[in-house]
C-alpha cells in the first residue's frame, strides 16, 4: 500500500519533462565518457583482447591468472603501502597546518599560499625536481643528511627506500589540499563552543582532541576517501621518477595496467586489473560514505 501512496504522490513524468531535458545532455556525456568505457572495460576483462589478434572469450581466466601473478600481488602490496603512507600523514599534516593557519597572525595568507603552491605545480615538473632532490651524490636531501652527520641514502635507487621517497613527495604535494579542505571545515565550527571549552578550563590540546577533531569528522572522512581514491590511481610520479623500479618496488596497479596494456598488448588482462581496482575503490567509497553518514546521524 505504501508504494501505491508513493506512486500516487510522485509527480507525473511529463510534469518533470523539462527537468529531464535539462539533465539529458549531462547524462548523455556521462554515459558516453564514463559508464560506457567502464562497462566496456569490464566486458574486455573476460576476453584476451589485444586489438591486434582475433579476440576470444576467456571467462574468468584473467581473474584466475591475477590470483597467481606474483608481480600483480606485489603491485597490490605496493599500492596499499603507498595509499596508507600518503593518506594518513597528508591528513595529519593538513589538519595541523589548517589549525595553525586558522588563527590570525601576520602573513597568514602568505603561508596559506606557500603551503598550497605544490598542489598547483605541474606533477611532471615537480617529479623532475624531486629526482634531483633525491640524487644520491649531489642532491640536497643527502646534503642535508650529511650536514647533520647522517649517512647519505640511495633514495630512489634502493628497493627498500624508493617507495618511501615517492610517499614523501606525494605528501609534500597533497597536504596543501588537505589544509584547504580542513580550513573550510574549521570555519563551520561555532566560536561559542571553543569559548565554552576555554571557560571550562580546557587546554589547547584538549580542545583540539575533544572539539576540533570530532567536529571535523565528516570533513575527515570526505578527505580520506578523496586521498584513498587518488592514491590508488597513482601513476605520473612513478612513471617519471622510478619507472616502477628498482626491482618492481614502486610498481603500482595502475602502472602495471599501463605496462600490461601498452607494453605487452594484453588489454584483456589489463582490463581485469582495472576492474579489480575499480571495485576496490568502489568498496572503499561505499564503506567511507556509510561511516560518514553514520557519524552525521
Amino acid at each position: 500500500m505504501t508504494f501505491r501512496s508513493g506512486a500516487a504522490d510522485a509527480p507525473a513524468f511529463n510534469q518533470n519533462l523539462g527537468a529531464y531535458l535539462f539533465l539529458a545532455p549531462a547524462l548523455l556525456i556521462l554515459f558516453l565518457s564514463l559508464l560506457l568505457p567502464a562497462a566496456a572495460t569490464i566486458g574486455m576483462s573476460f576476453t584476451d583482447i589485444s586489438f591486434l589478434r582475433p579476440t576470444n572469450f576467456v571467462g574468468l581466466d584473467n581473474y584466475l591468472r591475477l590470483l597467481s601473478d606474483g608481480r600483480f600481488q606485489q603491485a597490490v602490496f605496493n599500492t596499499s603501502y603507498y595509499t596508507l603512507g600518503v593518506t594518513l600523514p597528508t591528513m595529519v599534516l593538513g589538519l595541523l597546518a589548517a589549525v595553525a593557519l586558522n588563527r590570525r597572525f601576520p602573513f597568514r595568507v602568505a603561508f596559506r599560499t606557500i603551503f598550497y603552491l605544490p598542489v598547483l605545480t605541474s606533477l611532471i615538473a615537480a617529479a623532475v625536481v624531486w629526482v634531483y632532490i633525491y640524487e644520491p651524490y649531489s642532491g640536497p636531501m643527502n646534503g642535508l643528511l650529511v650536514s647533520l652527520g647522517l649517512p647519505p641514502q640511495p633514495w630512489l635507487q634502493s628497493p627498500n627506500l624508493a617507495m618511501t621517497a615517492l610517499i614523501i613527495m606525494a605528501v609534500w604535494r597533497d597536504f596543501g589540499t588537505a589544509m584547504i579542505i580542513y580550513l573550510a571545515g574549521l570555519q563551520d565550527i561555532p566560536e561559542e563552543i571553543y569559548e565554552a571549552a576555554r571557560l571550562d578550563g580546557a587546554g589547547k590540546f584538549a580542545i583540539l582532541r575533544r572539539i576540533t577533531v570530532p567536529m571535523l569528522s565528516s570533513v575527515t572522512f570526505y578527505l580520506m576517501i578523496i586521498l584513498i581514491v587518488q592514491s590508488f590511481q597513482v601513476f605520473g610520479a612513478i612513471y617519471v621518477m622510478t619507472g616502477g623500479g628498482p626491482l618492481g618496488s614502486t610498481e603500482t596497479i595502475v602502472f602495471q595496467m599501463y605496462q600490461t596494456a601498452f607494453g605487452y598488448t594484453e588489454f584483456g588482462y589489463a582490463a581485469a586489473m582495472s576492474t579489480v581496482l575499480f571495485f576496490v575503490i568502489l568498496l572503499f567509497s561505499i564503506v567511507g560514505t556509510k561511516i560518514m553518514r553514520k557519524g552525521e546521524a
Binding site: 586489438f51 619507472g243 605487452y264
Partner: protein, 430 residues
C-alpha cells in the same frame, strides 16, 4: 513579395531548391576533394626525435625535393612508447598512417597480429646489401615485416682522462674479461669513508641496461638468450650463470661500483658524463652527451671471456600497415631512405650505424672518429636476433632477475632459473 519574385521568374520554392542544391553540390565537391587529397597524402609517423631530429628532417626534405608528386605529411613522436600508443589505437580505429618508423620490438608485436605488410615482397631493394644482424630484428613468421633505417651498437665507453690518471694505456683497452676486471679495479676511486667517488665500471642505470649488460656478458661467455628456433630460453645455462657471477663479483668482491649507483634519468647528469664513472656499456647515442659534457670519450669493442669481441645492435625500423591507403608512397619513401646517399647523410648527421653495408664503409662515415668505432663494434653483434613479439616482456623478466641476484634477494642460479621458467611460459603462450 511572392509576386515580385514571380515577376523576376523565380518563386520562393525554386529559390530554396536552388540554394539547397548548390549547398549539396559544394559539400560533395569538398568531400570528394578532401578524399582525393587524402588519397594523395603520404602519412608518416616518425620517431626521428632527439639527436635524430635534424637527420630526420633532412631526409624528409630530400624526399619532398626528389618526389614533388608525393604529399608527405609527417608527425614526430618523442618516445617509442608514445608512438606505440598512437599506433595501437590507430590500427583499431582504421586511422593508421601509411608508414612509420619505430623501435624494432614494437613492430614485431604489430606484425604478430598480421597487421603489417611484408616488406620483403613489397620493396624493390637488394636485401643482401643490408646488414643481416640489423635486418634480423624485422624478420618474423617467415616474412620481413619491418626494415631498419639504422641501428645502434654497443662498445665499452671509457673516459680517457681517468684511464690515463690510473696509469693505464687508453690506446690498449681490455681484450679479455680478466683485463676488463683489472681496468675496472684500477679505475675505481673511493674516499677514506668508503664513499664511491669514481666507479671503475658503472654497470646499469635502468631495467633496459640491466638486461643489456647481462646479455652482452652472456654472449661474452658463449651463450645466447634463446635457442636457435626462438622457442626455448637458454640464458639460464652455465654461460648465463658465469656472466651474472662475473657481474656479481665485480660488485661485491672488487667493489668497482655501488648498487644503484647512477640509477636515474641519465643524460648529462649520468655518472659517466659527470666524471664519476670511468667505464660503461656505451651506445653510439652516448657520444653527443659525453662530448657535450666535456668527457674525453673513447670506445672499444666489448671483450669476450677468453678473447674475441661481442656486441648487440638495436635497430629502428620502417613498417607499413597492411591496410595503408598509400602503400605505394610508403614503399617509395623506404626505398629512398635506403639509398646510399640518404643512408650516409642520415648516419653522419645522427651518429647512428647505417643499415646499408656500403654506407657503413663510406669514407664520410669512416671519417667520423666515434661513428666509425661504433660501426666496427656493430660487426661483433650476433647474426641471430631474439626477434619475438614478447621481447619487451623478456627484457623486464631478465632485468628483474639480474637485479634480484645483484640485490642479494636470491642466488644467481635461482634468479636465472626462475626467469627462464617465466619466459618459457610466455613463449608457450605464443
Amino acid at each position: 513579395m511572392s509576386t515580385s519574385i514571380k515577376h523576376r521568374g523565380l518563386n520562393r520554392r525554386e529559390l530554396l531548391r536552388g540554394v539547397a542544391g548548390s549547398a549539396l553540390a559544394l559539400g560533395l565537391t569538398g568531400v570528394a576533394g578532401r578524399a582525393f587529397a587524402q588519397d594523395q597524402q603520404l602519412v608518416f609517423w616518425s620517431q626521428f626525435a632527439g639527436s635524430k631530429r635534424a637527420a630526420g628532417e633532412a631526409l624528409e626534405a630530400a624526399f619532398k625535393a626528389a618526389h614533388p608528386e608525393r604529399n608527405l605529411v609527417s608527425t614526430l613522436y618523442a618516445e617509442p612508447p608514445q608512438l606505440n600508443e598512437k599506433i595501437l589505437t590507430s590500427i583499431n580505429g582504421n586511422t593508421a598512417p601509411d608508414l612509420f618508423v619505430q623501435h624494432w620490438d614494437y613492430n614485431l608485436t604489430y606484425a604478430a597480429g598480421d597487421r603489417m605488410l611484408d616488406l620483403g615482397e613489397a620493396l624493390d631493394v637488394d636485401m643482401t646489401a643490408l646488414d643481416p644482424s640489423l635486418l634480423a630484428y624485422g624478420h618474423i613468421n617467415g616474412a620481413q615485416y619491418s626494415v631498419p633505417m639504422y641501428g645502434t651498437s654497443r662498445g665499452i665507453g671509457f673516459n680517457r682522462a681517468l684511464v690515463t690518471q690510473a696509469g693505464l694505456d687508453p690506446d690498449a683497452p681490455p681484450t679479455t674479461w680478466a683485463e676488463l676486471r683489472e681496468w675496472a679495479v684500477a679505475l675505481t676511486r673511493r674516499a677514506e669513508s668508503g664513499l664511491l667517488e669514481v666507479a671503475g665500471f658503472s654497470m646499469f642505470h635502468n631495467d633496459l641496461e640491466a638486461w643489456e649488460t647481462f646479455t652482452i656478458f652472456l654472449q661474452g661467455a658463449g651463450g645466447s638468450l634463446l635457442s636457435d628456433d626462438l622457442s626455448t630460453p637458454t640464458f639460464a645455462g652455465p654461460e648465463g650463470v658465469k656472466a651474472l657471477t662475473f657481474l656479481y663479483d665485480l660488485l661485491y668482491a672488487d667493489k668497482v661500483t655501488d648498487l644503484g649507483f647512477g640509477l636515474g634519468p641519465g643524460g648529462l647528469a649520468s655518472p659517466f658524463n659527470t666524471g664519476r664513472a670511468a667505464m660503461i656499456i656505451a651506445g653510439n647515442y652516448s657520444t653527443n652527451n659525453a662530448l657535450r659534457a666535456g668527457i674525453e670519450f673513447d670506445v672499444a669493442p666489448i671483450p669476450m671471456e677468453g678473447g674475441g669481441f661481442t656486441s648487440i645492435v638495436d635497430p629502428f625500423c620502417y613498417a607499413v600497415p597492411r591496410d595503408a591507403r598509400n602503400t605505394e608512397g610508403a614503399v617509395a619513401f623506404i626505398e629512398f631512405a635506403l639509398s646510399p646517399e640518404q643512408q650516409v647523410a642520415f648516419a653522419v648527421e645522427s651518429k647512428n650505424v647505417p643499415v646499408l653495408k656500403s654506407a657503413q664503409q663510406d669514407p664520410a662515415v669512416q671519417a667520423d672518429p666515434y661513428l666509425s668505432k661504433f660501426v666496427h663494434t656493430a660487426s661483433f653483434a650476433p647474426a641471430k636476433a631474439p626477434a619475438i613479439p614478447a621481447f619487451s616482456r623478456l627484457v623486464t623478466i631478465i632485468a628483474r632477475a639480474v637485479q634480484e641476484a645483484m640485490f642479494n634477494r636470491t642466488s644467481v642460479e635461482n634468479a636465472l632459473t626462475s626467469a627462464a621458467a617465466e619466459v618459457q611460459t610466455i613463449l608457450d603462450r605464443g
